[in-house]
Symmetry: C2
Subunit: 833 residues, 2 copies
């Protein structure tokens, strides 16, 4: 028996058990059967009929979702009706329909747009909202409450969204690739067209709707103008139709030079009337295809994209010419604040990329049309592991804002590592910028509450792909879930969000909930510890793949992500007194805190100040010692995650258990690499030893370059900290082997082999002790590099090996194409079990 | 990272957790990590080095298996050595090598061939045996004891096999199909040659060796003579080499007419000297390719195969001409006793197929060569659900025997149903035939113990295929496991065997062990109850696929599996007094019991006697009532298995959990079909009502033929009991729908839809209540029929549907090719949850 994709499978004799293995595709909308009989019977009195008033696509979605959810969780197929039956019913109706639909329905206090209320009367269960979307959101809230086993009396839920704008952006290219996407190819596009199969788009829209997300821009901000060409519009309309049924407005990113590139004009000057007319005509054409288009996203004058500067016009000129075309259709334009000069002179200590957004936009405050939102990344740089909240949020008083949060883990291990970003976002959202006295947290500013703006809200850069689990890592789904929940209600705590997510996504089992919550909640701090503590930012290859460690990649170039570590000290002096003056962009109470070396929080110290390595933190430790300690703490935590996850063996479905285990094992190895690379770099640069003697000392490690090599040659690795001893053994004359003699005591050991797995070949490795084959593996993982560097560096562990003094340990490598079966070292540790 | 197939994968940080999902391929040799720390640490003192004395392939297998097992279960990679190290070691050596290998090793009391002993001295752990095979068997016993968490002191195990012959037969055809095989295509052959990839053969050999099985005949007893042709011998040699490393002797089935068919002679008369010479030459040729060939299996003069009767020669003449050719090479010939006339006159009440084996072979006792074994099916008919032990076992005193047990579930649901056959085999093996006074159970006779024969033992017809789990059903693996354990030691109980199997194959979890053991141990009785109680035999399509129910398929034809049910009574009169005289083939104490209506056990009553339906059983029930009751009991038990299995959700790995759940759900539906078909047949034939009123009464059932049909036409189903009401609705003029009006009370219901899933199309079905789609599915299961009959009849359950008086229930069918989306009925039951 096979089950049709379009329908829930029910073949069980007694229970509607799903007959397909978990793939993660349903994410938090699995509607797993509630095995707890008492909990399930608590819902036995709910009506058996669902009545959807109004036949709009959104109400139909709500009704079908309710049926699907009840079927999955309770084993009951509700009856669908379009008029009130002669029996109790679940009533789905907007507030305006409710009185007509159900005479005697209780009066509903006014609710914001998209808000909803669930009312359990003696007879009916009413799900109502200000609009169709509200009803749908009410249904999702009801289903979530049931899966979380709330009591029937707790189902009386009334909610309204914190902000009107709750959007996601997808950076999909029309060729099917995704910029900074790690979950496979595009669900929207392939071969410069919209995909024939839009099943995954429907599934994604459902996930978004379950969180209250009401807009989605589907293409890369580095936009291909083809997306608004006449021949493309019918294709957009197909996606819009799917989105519409889930209350999501389609949006697109547009190229600001479109009037010239596809419009046939010789200019795209925003003040040229031909350009204005072109935009007006084009927008009208688009709205004929997609009448409920949400609007545009525009990235201009940024990272090589053309913008108004070509004609010496302002960003307001640029935004407004499009905004005026959109206004009659109620369309919005999201104008990205991510504008900076990437050819800055690094020698000038006054230059500072962090200043750019503020400097570019503050002078334009009040000049943007009312349907323009300036879309501002949460920090002043670019989604680094730790940044302060952008001062621009508090500075613009007469301009709509949207905060841009990055769900896709560009700088956070790219789906190979578990990093739960919600605690980081919460810090930014809750940060009080004192924009209008105290009590003006970023969330209120972005939502337009502080200065009573007509629009405002939240934009998440999601970048899901065709992988069954959307992100390439099931644990990464928590970031999309958390984004949506925060966009709806930023007052939720990280703990509340992860607890919901784990229970919905995995199980209600107490060990499962405790373990996953604990890993997720601590993961940001763990990642920060081993990648860039104290406000150093993520010490990755910032001009390249943003994946592996490369401490100096930020330095001595025009990109401006400098940390300015040298032999004496480290950190960007952004003070007003002696530095770039960035801190002066904050309102005085905030500026005062950051300006002061003693008041500035430790975790942002090096973002704000340049200090000697011996500077003493609030914790009492020196900066250099904290760098060392943080990296050891972070790597130890990552190693612990593996162990904690293994305790869930048999408690989590096997496919996801195994997939996440593999990610966590990789992460533990990566954390170790970061630890050693960063600490060695600072040890060598500062010359100050680690008080505990760990940094620069690697007990049990045997460098490949020090082993007896056959066929292997020793090569220098760049950056030098990417390999232990800065060198690797590369197999250039096969057959290749690296041999060493074990001289320690007899016992059980774990052998860690660090090797390089490039993406341009599949090398093979064999590990032998004496003549005995202990382990063999292939280097077939996918990492974003063709080089022997920190991105390809990875680790294999052969656990529980008996070693005796005099043993020969041998690694044989068989290269494949340009991949040379390279080796960094072997490390011998007492067996952990 | 990918793991090479040839090696155990170990990538965990702390534990050697398997990084691939369960597929069932490793069966009971999973070597799952022992999570219980106390149990694991109980083995911490075992040596770290394994020394394999002698470099034979079998000793190497034993050493590698030990390493693999320790690695999996304990996370330790033992060191392999070929000489005694300066530290404690696990010593693998035959008894004859042991003294030289380990001066001071304890003296080993004499052991039978293939026997082993494990000795834990203060320093060493010795695994020794009479030969290499014994050492290998000792290693498997040691690993099994560790996985079962026996204490270190319990590892001192000493065992010897009950019989020298412990073989399996595979009925694989050279074209890659398998006669009566249900686990996919052949692991040995494809396209008339041996497969290029023999990886599965190696894996299978390892499974067999773990049970002590020492021979395997790889091709169908209905043999293609090509298997011994000159060009095929090098291919056989490839398989033999793999088998050899696991102590298994390759054997082949040969066509008795080979001298004529491939030998170029004009005869295959066993007494013709040219024929004798041909066999001698051919056998010599084979042994040059496979020096350790086990021998031949021969099926002659049976079911259309040519045999000695063509020349009026005896079976002894036939066996001996080949035996003489094999003798110099120590080869055996297994001559099948499954010889009967399948053109018997059914009108003659004295005719009896059950007599055939005895009648054919008794007169030849003492005339077979010493390397001939007569291979006798455990019962006198053909692997029916209940047969008495074959009297031939006790009759032959001067002839070697082997008992043939069928592992593949030909008559037992063909891997779609769970039937644990060990309790059935145990009854046969333990049955005392009084061949030489009391105390001569079948096992002792078959093993040659009773009459001190030079050879004897056990043959299991296994028929594994390329499906990852070998049989198409993970639960079926228990039958291979149980066969092997019984062949080694038939004194093990069914309870011991299933307990070992469940713990090794699934987990040590108490709920898992309790549930699986209970399902398996009761499954034979359950299957007997709904297929053929009281010795009726399996009431299946015995002239066709042996799968679906067909009560009269056995009657009025020459195949002789008659049960002779008519309007007055039922059963084969096999008494000496009035019947076929079959009972007279047993020795007097046994014959006396069977001959007596009062002494004959109820479960064999109808095998031995023809009685009126009103005959009263020992239980006090009439025969007819017992038929009714048994079928209801059996179907209820099958339904209960689903529920019991569902309690293991989350306790068994998901892939196997889901696969077995699907099988059990099918089985529950099949049991219901059998119940209704058999009971209705007997109700109509006997005219005697079911005392409890169940038979013939189907509350909640609505026949398709009684529904309002559009596009569907009503067709007669054959046999008539295969469909409820003997009719089905077949979609001949699409679009097709069957409609009914529900007039019961409002409530929650489960809807059972019985439909026909032929193997020549993929029809689609939709179930609607009013305009609401409740369920949809495709008929894409694989059943062995192209017809609308009991083999294609299957069931879909839509659970938890709200019904209200006046509702229209509609089933829409979309035919596909010759498959006509046929319907039997819809049944409406109160929701079970």
């Amino acid at each position: 028996m096979k089950c049709a994709l379009t329908f829930v499978c029910i073949t069980a004799m007694f229970l509607p058990v799903k007959l397909t293995a978990e793939t993660g595709h349903d994410a938090w909308l699995r509607y797993a059967y509630i095995n707890d009989t008492v909990a399930r019977e608590g819902y036995a009195d709910l009506p058996a009929v669902v009545v959807g008033f109004a036949n709009s696509p959104v109400i139909v979605s709500a009704r079908e979702e309710l049926i699907r959810g009840f079927r999955g969780m309770l084993g009951r197929t509700l009856r669908a009706a379009s008029t009130l039956p002669n029996e109790p019913a679940i009533v789905l109706a907007t507030i305006s329909d409710l009185r007509a639909a159900l005479p005697g329905a209780p009066r509903i206090a006014p609710l914001a747009e998209d808000g909803f209320q669930i009312i359990r009367t003696g007879r009916e269960l009413i799900v109502t909202g200000t609009n169709d979307r509200g009803v749908l959101y009410g249904v999702f809230a009801l289903l979530r409450a049931i899966e979380l086993q709330w009591s029937e009396s707790e189902l009386n839920i009334r909610e309204e969204p914190y902000a009107p704008v709750r959007w996601v952006n997808e950076w999909d290219n029309l060729d099917g690739t995704i910029e900074r996407g790690y979950g496979g190819r595009s669900i929207f596009f392939e071969n410069d067209n919209v995909r024939a199969d839009l099943g995954p788009v429907r599934d994604y829209a459902r996930l978004l709707a379950s969180l209250g997300i009401n807009g989605c821009a589907i293409n890369n901000v580095n936009a291909n103008p083809r997306v608004v060409s006449a021949e493309f519009l019918p294709q957009l309309a197909r996606i819009a139709e799917i989105f519409r049924a889930w209350g999501i407005r389609l949006a697109v990113s547009v190229d600001f030079s479109s009037p010239q590139r596809i419009g046939g004009l010789d200019t795209f000057d925003p003040l040229d009337s031909r350009v204005a007319t072109w935009w007006k005509t084009k927008v009208g054409e688009i709205y004929r295809a997609v009448p409920d288009l949400g609007g545009f996203v525009v990235k201009a004058d940024s990272e090589g994209r053309l913008g108004p500067s070509a004609y010496k016009r302002t960003h307001a000129d640029a935004a407004n010419v499009i905004a005026r075309a959109l206004a009659p259709h109620h369309g919005l334009i999201f104008y990205r604040g991510f504008v900076y000069d990437h050819h800055m002179d690094w020698r000038n200590l006054k230059n500072d990329r962090a200043r750019a957004a503020y400097d570019n936009f503050i002078k334009l405050d009040g000049t943007f049309a009312d349907n323009v939102l300036v879309q501002i990344k949460h920090g002043p740089i670019d989604f680094q592991v730790r940044e302060p909240a952008s001062p621009l949020f508090g500075a613009l008083e007469k301009t709509n804002e949207a905060i841009e949060l990055q769900i896709t883990q560009e700088y956070f291990g790219q789906a190979r590592q578990v990093v739960f970003l919600i605690p980081m976002w919460k810090e930014a959202l809750d940060f009080d910028l004192h924009a209008h006295g105290a009590g003006t947290p970023v969330k209120a500013l972005a939502a337009g509450k502080t200065f009573n703006r007509p629009s405002g809200g939240f934009v998440g850069v999601s970048n899901v792909g065709l992988d069954a689990n959307w992100f390439g890592n099931d644990m990464s789904q928590a970031n999309l879930y958390g984004f949506g929940r925060l966009a709806w209600n930023p007052n939720l705590t990280s703990e509340q969000i992860i607890d919901e997510w784990t229970r919905l996504t995995f199980s209600q089992g107490p060990e499962v909930v405790k373990t996953i919550n604990s890993v997720q909640l601590s993961s940001w701090r763990t990642f920060e510890n081993y990648t860039g503590p104290l406000g150093l930012q993520t010490l990755t290859d910032i001009v390249g793949n943003h994946f592996g460690v490369a401490v100096e990649a930020s330095e001595r170039n025009g990109w401006g992500q400098w940390h300015r570590a040298d032999e004496q000290g480290v950190g960007m002096d952004r003070t007003v007194a002696t530095g770039t003056g960035y801190i002066g962009q904050y309102r005085p109470p905030v500026a005062k805190m950051y300006e002061s070396l003693t008041e500035c929080p430790d975790e942002l110290l090096l973002f704000m100040h340049h200090v000697p390595y011996t500077h003493v933190l609030h914790s009492g430790k020196t900066v250099i010692q904290q760098i060392y300690d943080a990296h050891y703490d972070g790597a130890a935590a990552a190693a612990r995650y593996v162990k904690e996850w293994e305790s869930l063996n048999g408690r989590v479905d096997e496919p996801r258990y195994l997939a996440i285990l593999a990610h966590l094992q990789y992460q533990a190895g990566a954390a170790e690499l970061w630890r050693d690379a960063v600490n060695t770099w600072f040890l060598r640069t500062s010359g100050i030893p680690d008080r505990t003697g760990r940094a620069g000392s690697f007990p049990g490690r045997h460098e490949a370059e020090a082993m007896k090599l056959t066929g292997y040659s020793v090569v220098d690795v760049k950056p030098w900290e990417a390999a232990s001893g800065s060198k690797a053994a590369s197999c250039t004359a096969p057959p290749c082997a690296a041999r060493m003699r074990y001289d320690g005591t007899a016992g059980w050991y774990d052998l860690y082999v660090r090797y390089f797995d490039q993406n341009d070949g599949v090398s093979r490795y064999r590990l032998l002790v004496g003549s005995q084959l202990i382990d063999e593996w292939t280097a077939a993982d996918r990492f974003p590099t063709r080089r022997i560097d920190s991105s390809s560096s990875t680790r294999r562990i052969a656990a529980g090996v008996a070693l005796r003094p005099g043993d020969e340990i041998r690694i044989e490598g068989v290269p494949d194409g340009p991949e040379t079966a390279a080796l960094d070292y072997i490390e011998i540790h007492q067996a952990t079990k």
